[in-house]
Symmetry: C2
DNA sequence: AATAGAGTTAACGTAAACGTCAAGATAAAC
DNA sequence: GTTTATCTTGACGTTTACGTTAACTCTATT
């Protein structure tokens, strides 16, 4: 397996962010690439963490919250059951956060449906109500 | 009907924000309460707009984006069909934004499921996989 | 050997979204 | 009629999440 590695500008281009963002995320402890001499070398795992970070950002999480979420993904499984239980509790907490956001989305979409119907009504048109508001493959 | 009205601190307490936030949102054009003398008086409609704003904030929208969303809700229906079509296009755009966020949530939840299963596996437990990750009353 | 290209740290700048005084107006309560 | 509470408008401060030079280093050519 060809353990792929990336330079800072590789990742920056791939995700249309700037190198500065990657250095900043590193400063905040989100990603910690190894170094080749002084230059940063990003692994596939680092890339995954970056993806997670950017998803979190799109959802409005702070970098601190994102760091907590990312740390859940750490494949270095702890042996200590207490740490595992701690992980599970954190997991459930973050799941709640996400479900709350999901509900916010749903309510906003519902309200938008009403607006659309009203607008369509004013336009004198008619159409099948409440369709395609969410992708249907929810699970 | 008892057209309910609210003071700035009424709304602040109700939503656990500060008056400063309400004044700031007004400055940015999100809410425009009428005045009793010099004091702000918030209507039921203003309250609704505030709820929308806070939902948008929880989802990570900027105040500018939130303003756009809120304006969609304006019950003063335009007569001009071109404006209505414009409204409909905007509506679809915002829906897309929301659906993107929804997909981000779903992917994060899926990844969390995997982590949980791994942790439970390490704990030597077993359980019904992939349940209760989202509220079931999606529509 | 000089030049270009990509990387580095350090430091200051900035936009967004408020927080935090300060100083005054106003209305209600005593 | 004066304290008390609540409001107002500035105006400056703060945190987050980067942007933007600046000054250097290090290979990699040419």
């Amino acid at each position: 397996m060809a353990t792929t590695e990336y330079s800072i500008s590789d990742l920056a281009q791939a995700f249309t962010i700037t190198p500065r963002t990657l250095r900043f995320y590193e400063m905040r402890g989100l990603i910690t690439p190894k170094r080749h001499g002084v230059s940063r070398v990003y692994s596939e795992k680092d890339k995954v963490r970056l993806e997670l970070a950017l998803r979190g950002k799109r959802l409005g999480f702070s970098l601190e919250e994102i760091k907590e979420i990312i740390e859940l993904y750490d494949p270095s499984q702890p042996e200590d059951p207490r740490q595992l239980y701690f992980l599970l509790r954190k997991l459930h907490q973050k799941r709640k956060d996400l479900i709350n956001k999901f509900n916010d989305i749903r309510e906003t979409l519902n309200a938008m449906d009403i607006i659309e119907e009203r607008a369509l009504g004013t336009l004198g048109k008619r159409q099948n109500p409440r369709v395609n508001q969410l992708p249907l493959d929810i699970d």
